[in-house]
Amino acid sequence: MKARHERLLLIAGGLVALGLMAAFVLHALKDNLSLFYAPAEVLAGKAPRDRAFRIGGLVEAGSLVRQPDGVSVRFVVTDMQERVTIQYKGILPDLFSEGRGVVAQGKLDDQGLFIASEVLAKHDENYMPPEVAAALEKAHQEGAGDANAQTLPPQQLPQ
């Protein structure tokens, strides 16, 4: 029965191909996820050292410094608990400004400086990216217990 054989072959081949594709897709997915961390989590050592992730928070007022080359910038992102300095080479998006929320994608270097490959300020009337809002809210809740202790965050939110 040649027809039946052909059909079996077709089905078997299809299944193998599908299986391979599925394995490959899942592998790619695993490798390309970027988890989101707030500055406090980064300083607590929760963020990965060797792979890219996203960090979000508010851009601390007055922290934006242009490097001498004119296109590299450094700024501080804070969740009102901890601060992480971000280095980025390139032009910042239109909606980037001090006191507003940002999300940066990149890696930590050895000194704990976050080297961003991408800085996202949302094209949205929304005030801040939801991840950032959630991170801030969390930081506030955790910090609320010792609010009376002098842990006033180095925060300034002007823009």
Binding site: L18, V25, L29, R54, I91, L92, D94, L95, Q105, H123
Partner: protein, 664 residues
């Protein structure tokens, strides 16, 4: 008064839609000729009412009626007229009304052009569309009424989002929605066929032109959106794998699978279940896209106000529309025969591979898009799936598809001879390989595997298409001269090859721009020069200019090559008066062989905008081929729709013997 009139028209449309839908479907089931006859005029009445409502809203925009909340939120008296008309779909409520408008127009078109359809079939198709329209009308009236008054009115509107004040807004959403919503026709045909238990070649022939049409619109819509993002966002990228983009790409992939599988169903009667399932899926994915975009469950760079209440409604709507049709499918599908047999190596099996690959591609996009939601739902943290995932996955999935695309047209139905194919195409293969190796080296001086692969596939598709076309011309030439033989080829044949060549052009663009684009971020003082890809960009400084509703700082950049001034580019940084948002307007020198792209960053010293600026320059070789390829694909689709076959079948006085059969 006029907005109330529009609201009233929508309210009136609601009972019309539900009455016509139910009566037509029940009538078709019970073979009640009177009820079925309602479908046609009923659908047209519905289309009339919705169009009326739409015009009323447009009038409110044109007349600056800021006592209408939606107008006050999305327009402004300073806004140019074209944007006031396009502003109708600049926000949530209006885009839903546009969606609605497209839906009823598609339905009205079906009622006009489907004269040969047997009455029960037409009643079922139109009835299904009317019920879909009913659900959407309910959604609009309950959660997103665009005619809500703002009392007391305000003197001035809040203005349209500056990002949307661009010619892209005028074209992109209507085309995209035409495509999105157009799949509802394929869906309605599928549901009608399932209801009738009548899945046959005739059914496939009716749905084909509609599906191809919708697919063509969707292709154009997506391409325009991509082009718009490219020049408007100032990042120089043409696809970001953003959830909103994916939402439109998934129906496109499913739709592409559908138009190919419909071909098999029409010609060979095979894949019937599969085709029906694809038709349901394509529209379901459109609805899923609407849900993702409108509910705000995913974060996206796009600006859409999110409202969970709306999300719940769309989800319920989606669950009803898709759920019911899937139940119908599961109930009816096993009763449908398998259709014609085919060999392991045949056009059918190749089109089957095409379908499998496209469905796998759809699934990977779906997975990447919904994965963050899944992880969040399981409380495992917030994460995002970045473009690297999609890029990594897409190349290996699509490459085999593109390779098979070259072979496909040469294969015969049922069984083809592998030897014959090798004989026909071996030189094409050699030529494509040679081009892939030599071309990048000769033109750009270096190459890497992905570029070679892309060029190989593009050349392969192109050569194979041209070979097949000329072979066909040769064999059908007879005694006529060459030109008439070429022109006499049927339009669907032209359409297929044009669309395939469009894919080749697209792939070439993607490969070259991916491999050889260059960008530089530099600080520039007036008079300074930066060199990129053999061009000199001379920054001449920045001057303030004034637009109709914004003020801007306009830079001037001279483009030189070999000591010859080629063009002056004027990138801008705009500040819209009514919103505090700054906007970067890139300046682009568009050319057949590539774009040169300049956008302004920030002045190094904010107090001295006349001084140094951070400037970004790009060289994007062949980038316009990407959209050109999409245009060719859509144009190919249009040619296929215009094919004589479909018109002939319409004129035929006696319908197919298969179509007169009613319920089983």
């Amino acid at each position: 008064m006029i907005p109330e009139f529009g609201h009233f028209a929508l309210l009136l449309a609601l009972p019309v839609a539900v009455l016509v839908g139910v009566l037509a479907l029940v009538g078709a089931q019970k073979n009640h000729a009177r009820w079925m006859a309602l479908a046609k005029p009923g659908t047209r009445l519905l289309a009339f009412l919705v169009t009326l409502a739409y015009l009323c809203l447009t009038q409110a925009f044109v007349a600056n009626d800021f006592s209408v909340l939606y107008v006050a939120q999305h327009s402004n008296s300073l806004l140019p007229l074209a944007y006031r008309i396009a502003g109708v779909w600049g926000g949530h409520e209006g885009s839903l009304l546009l969606w609605m408008l497209m839906l009823v127009w598609w339905a009205a078109l079906v009622s006009v052009f489907s004269r040969p359809l047997a009455a029960p079939m037409l009643a079922r198709v139109l009835g299904t569309l009317c019920l879909v329209a009913f659900g959407f009308l309910l959604f609009i009236l309950l959660t997103s009424n665009p005619f809500t008054r703002l009392l007391p009115g305000v003197a001035e509107g809040r203005d349209l989002n500056p990002l949307l004040q661009d010619p892209g807004l005028i074209l992109h959403p209507p085309l995209l929605y035409m495509g999105y919503v157009g799949f509802s026709v394929a869906y309605a045909f599928a549901v009608a066929a399932l209801l009738a238990g009548q899945l046959d070649a005739a059914w496939a022939r009716w749905s084909r032109p509609w599906t191809t049409m919708a697919w063509g619109f969707l292709t154009l819509g997506i391409a325009l959106g991509s082009w718009w993002a490219y020049y408007e966002l100032g990042w120089g990228g043409w696809w970001f794998w953003d959830p909103v983009e994916n939402a439109s790409f998934m129906p496109w992939l499913a739709g592409t699978a559908l138009i190919h599988s419909l071909a098999v169903t029409e010609k060979r009667g095979s894949f019937k279940n599969w085709t029906v399932l694809l038709a349901i899926s394509a529209f379901s994915l459109s609805l899923l896209g609407t849900f993702l975009v409108r509910s705000g469950v995913l974060t996206s760079v796009h600006a859409f106000a999110a409202d969970p209440a709306r999300g719940i409604f769309i989800l319920a709507f989606l669950a009803t529309v898709v759920g019911l049709s899937l139940v119908l499918f599961v109930w009816r599908a096993p009763k449908v025969g398998l259709g014609g047999r085919f060999g392991l190596f045949s056009r059918e099996s190749l089109l089957l591979s095409n379908n499998v690959i496209l469905v796998v591609a759809t699934a990977t996009v779906l997975l990447g898009t919904l994965y963050p939601l899944l992880i969040d739902a399981l409380n495992l943290g917030k994460l995002s799936v970045g473009p690297p995932y999609f890029n990594a996955v897409f190349v290996p999935i699509m490459a085999p598809l593109l390779f098979l695309m070259g072979i496909g047209p040469f294969l015969r139905w049922k069984a083809a001879s592998a030897q014959e194919i090798v004989l026909r195409l071996k030189w094409a293969l050699v030529a494509a390989l040679a081009i892939a190796v030599l071309l990048p080296m000769l033109i750009y001086g270096d190459a890497w595997p992905l570029v070679n692969l892309g060029i190989f596939l593009a050349a392969w598709i192109l050569i194979a298409a041209v070979l097949h076309f000329s072979r066909q011309v040769w064999t059908t030439r007879g005694s006529s001269n060459l030109l008439t033989a070429v022109l006499r080829q049927p339009l669907h044949f032209w359409g297929m090859h044009l669309a395939h060549i469009g894919v080749a052009v697209f792939v070439a663009g993607v490969a070259i721009v991916g491999g050889y684009e260059e960008e530089k971020d530099v600080r520039m003082a007036p008079g300074e020069i930066v060199t990129l890809s053999g061009y000199e960009f001379r920054f001449m400084g920045v001057l303030p200019v004034k637009g109709p509703n914004y003020e801007a700082l306009q830079g001037e950049v001279e483009l030189w090559k070999n000591n010859r001034l080629i063009r002056r580019l004027r990138p801008e940084k705009r500040f819209y008066r009514s919103s505090a948002m700054p906007m970067t307007e890139a300046a682009i020198d568009t050319g057949f062989f590539g774009d040169l792209y300049v956008s302004l960053g920030e002045p190094l010293d904010r107090a001295r905008p006349e001084g140094e600026w951070a400037v970004r320059v790009y060289s994007k070789p062949l980038v316009d081929w990407i959209w050109g390829g999409c245009f060719l694909m859509a144009f190919g689709g249009l040619l296929a729709v215009c094919d004589r076959r479909y018109r002939q079948s319409r004129r035929r006085s006696t319908p197919d013997p298969l179509t007169v059969k009613t319920s089983p």
